[in-house]
Amino acid sequence: MRRWRYFGYRLAFALPVVFGILVLNFFLIQLAPGDAASVLAGESGAASPEYTAMLREKFGLDRPLLEQFLAYIGNAVQFNLGYSFRNDSPVFELILARLGPTLLLMLTAFGAALTLGTALGVLAAVARNSWRDALISVVTLICYATPVFWLGLMLIVVFSVNLNWLPTSGFENIAEGYEGWERWVDIGRHLIMPGTALGLFYLALYTRVMRASMLEQTGMDYVTTARAKGQTERKIVFGHMLRNAFLPVLTMAGVQAGNLIGGSVVVETVFGWPGLGTLAFNALQSRDLNLLLGIFFISASLVVIINLVVELLTITLDPRIQA
């Protein structure tokens, strides 16, 4: 019961955060020079002033800023994210189409990095200063230091161009028109390389944090106590230490969930993955205010939700925290 009250308190705290992000973003983007109408007109080659004025009127860009702001907030409160005039499509539809692939890529990369990273970290800590520890350290260091875009391109060169095992890019093979189970296998094949490129950096990070955290626990009184009462090493590591050592990794993962949405622009670009990152980048480039704010709203909400889940996990793992 107390746990849920604490959770409710965190939830109540999250709503003003999302609102604050909305307000801040709205005014921040107004500071960028140029607007959607001028970009669209620019891409058209030579547009008449009437054409640009017509676009501006259509987009509502000729109205006072305060009026635009109130209209936007009014819509956002009703979960109406507005219309992207540049894309001739409702913002919600545009985001929804990208949300699935983004979450698929993100959760795969994140989940794999978290599980594998934890396992490797424990392995390294248990066999401290052995050849296994050294090997894991060297591999994680390389993963950590490799730029994601370079890794992505190298994966394509090796596995697509030279070996011809995996498709270079995209979400699925449309030319073949797969259906049902075959389609999911196809999507999975497209997912391997971007997932690897995105996940390896985080894998390295979690391995190192987990290792350090495990070593820190080794000297704790409760470990000595457990060992004194004759518990097996296996029980000590998995029954006692793992749970405590996992907390810093979990906290870090919660903070980085936001990075994973924003940081995947590079991976999405290299692999032509239809994600939210590139959508946001293009929206910014073309000053598509409605779309950009919509994405901010959705990704801010996602980060807040993930943090709430992490919070919930944390207090489950360590009930002392909710006090």
């Binding site: 001028s38 058209s44 080659g45 030579a46 547009a47 002033p49 894309n87 001739d88 394509i156 999405e268």
Partner: protein, 547 residues
């Protein structure tokens, strides 16, 4: 078109490349499906995958003229005319036409038995609506191309009569599927054109029908079984894929995942590698109506640049061949003036202008600056200027870096400024807060379409992009270009353009750097894809895939 970054190919490089291919190509490769003459026999069916870059924001080609839209929409919408390799008009939706002697009446006879993808029959009413209500009102190029068009009369369902206020010789050069697409009147009537439901689900008369658009991934087009040209198209399906990263686009061509990439979808740096790949071919044909030129624009409102000597000195300081060889990887040739040498076939181009590529050009440039009253300071610098870097690709930054060195030779300290597209456009075309700008233009099939607006004083329109932002006001050039707009006699029109080019090069409101040559990369299994000067701005109705 200005929205697309570059590359390109010199005639010499092309000859070498094709010679090399002729030697190395295995003769057995094409033998399997050969017709007696040695040309392979077309087979119907198959899915062609082309790369379009970047992904269009909209498919409303009738209202937005960005260069990345027509590769998709010209499969769906058709225009009245198409053009042969000599840029002579050929029938498409118009079966035949006559121009009255005074040039003010053009009568089009239309193709019979044509239907739109929604089943509606194509008639002269659709033509009239497409020109008067759509193109003239919402097409950004409408005010220029259709300025003289006063009415489209429809005496019967298969005849459309264009009434012009003044002769407009360029109009017949601007009626292709990518210039003025013919839309279905019943779909658009009583709607706001840009919010029409068919904006992103286009309905036309073309060989392919719109099927789906997954944003960030692809547009799918399916064969139009009821296409009016019998037996066409041959392909079952076209997929236009969008891959943001240039290296990945090249990889997709190398693995055979994609069959076709036009314009600058493939990085200039990768083209040589692609040309060496045995499964890929390349061509520089199909860019006949592009006439793309990279230029510098001088802001003549600024005190230094208001002086003709300074502008000419900058023109002298630049080694255009260096730009072609090193920035464009050899895919282009040096420009000599505001008209591309593409216009030499029509006789409008002349190289008989003030030439900046003389051996003692640096000497002349330094003397011009000395005479203009800008002596070198203690550190060798006369004065400083800013260069606004074109935001449409990395090659423009490299060009800027070269220009900085080139201008340092004559004592001008150039500072480079890189901004994103919206900021860059605003600075150069709305705020006029720039010294030198480095944009890139397509002239189109006629100088009226894409050249006049950069130099005539009536095109100084604050807030409009890619027009005369230089504050260049020359009554001589204004008059010459205005006369050329109406002159029907080709010889007289050529004389007018020659005089205009001489005057403009002498005034140097800008510097003309390089004529850019694009390269199309294709899989050798794809045949009959580049069938005319419009290249990728024309439907792949005859294209077919070897299997």
């Amino acid at each position: 078109m200005s929205g697309i970054p570059t590359p390109h190919l010199s005639r010499r490089a092309l000859l070498l490349a094709s010679a090399a291919m002729a030697v190395t190509a295995p003769p057995a490769a094409e033998a399997q499906t050969s017709r007696p003459g040695g040309t392979p026999t077309p087979v119907p069916g198959g899915t062609m995958v082309m790369i379009v870059n970047p992904e269009p924001a909209t498919l409303a080609t009738y209202a937005v003229s960005a260069g990345n839209i027509p590769p998709i929409t010209t499969q769906i919408y058709e225009g009245l005319l198409t053009y042969d390799w000599d840029l002579k008009p050929q029938p498409l939706l118009a079966k035949s036409w006559t121009v009255s002697p005074d040039g003010k009446t053009i009568t089009f006879k239309l193709q019979e038995g044509v239907t739109f993808h929604n089943g509606a029959a194509f008639t002269s009413a659709d033509v009239a609506y497409s020109f008067m209500e759509i193109a003239k009102k919402v097409n950004p190029n409408g005010p220029v191309i259709l300025r003289e068009l006063e009415a489209v009369e429809t005496p019967d369902a298969m005849t459309a009569v264009f009434k012009l206020a003044n002769p407009a010789p360029y109009l017949m050069m601007s009626l292709s599927s990518n210039n003025i697409p013919i839309i279905c009147k019943s779909v658009f009537e009583d709607t706001v054109p840009m919010q029409n439901p068919s904006a992103n689900r286009p309905i036309g008369t073309g060989p392919f029908k719109f099927a789906a658009w997954e944003r960030g991934q692809f547009v799918r087009l399916d064969k139009n079984d009821k296409y009016w040209k019998p037996g066409l198209p041959l392909l079952n399906r076209i997929i236009a894929r969008f891959i943001p990263d240039a290296a990945t686009r090249s990889a997709a061509l190398e693995t055979g995942e994609a069959h076709y990439a036009a314009y600058s979808a493939v990085n200039a740096a990768d083209i040589k590698r692609m040309q060496a790949n045995p499964i890929l071919g390349s061509t520089t044909r199909g860019y006949g109506t592009t006439a793309a030129t990279s230029v510098l624009e001088f802001n003549m409102r600024r005190p230094h640049l208001a002086k003709k000597e300074v502008r000419q000195a900058i023109c002298y300081a630049i080694d255009r061949q260096f730009i072609v060889d090193n920035i464009l990887y050899g895919f282009g040739k040096p420009a000599v003036g505001p008209l591309s040498s593409v216009f030499s076939t029509s006789g409008w181009f002349t190289a008989d202008v003030r030439r900046f590529d003389v051996p003692n050009r640096l000497e002349i440039a330094n003397k011009l600056l000395d005479d203009a009253g800008y002596p070198r300071g203690a550190n060798g610098v006369r004065f400083g200027l800013h260069l606004e870097i074109n935001s449409f690709g990395e090659q423009w930054l490299r060009q800027g870096e070269y220009l900085k060195q080139a201008l340092a030779q004559i004592g001008i300290n150039l500072t480079l400024r890189s901004e994103d597209t919206a900021t860059w456009l605003r600075r150069c075309y709305t705020d006029y807060d720039f010294d030198i700008n480095e944009p890139f233009y397509s002239a189109g099939a006629d100088p009226v379409i894409g050249v006049h607006r950069h130099y005539v004083s009536s095109a100084i329109r604050q807030g409009t992009t890619f027009v005369n932002n230089k504050d260049y006001r020359s009554p001589v050039v204004d008059k010459l270009m205005d006369d050329a707009t109406r002159e029907l006699d080709p010889k007289k029109r050529a004389d007018l353009y020659h005089a205009a080019q001489k005057q403009m090069v002498e005034d140097s409101p800008g510097a003309w750097l390089a004529e850019v040559q694009y390269v199309t990369i294709f899989n050798k299994k794809l045949h009959d894809h580049t069938m005319g000067p419009l290249g990728t701005y024309e439907a792949f109705s005859r294209a077919w895939l070897e299997r």
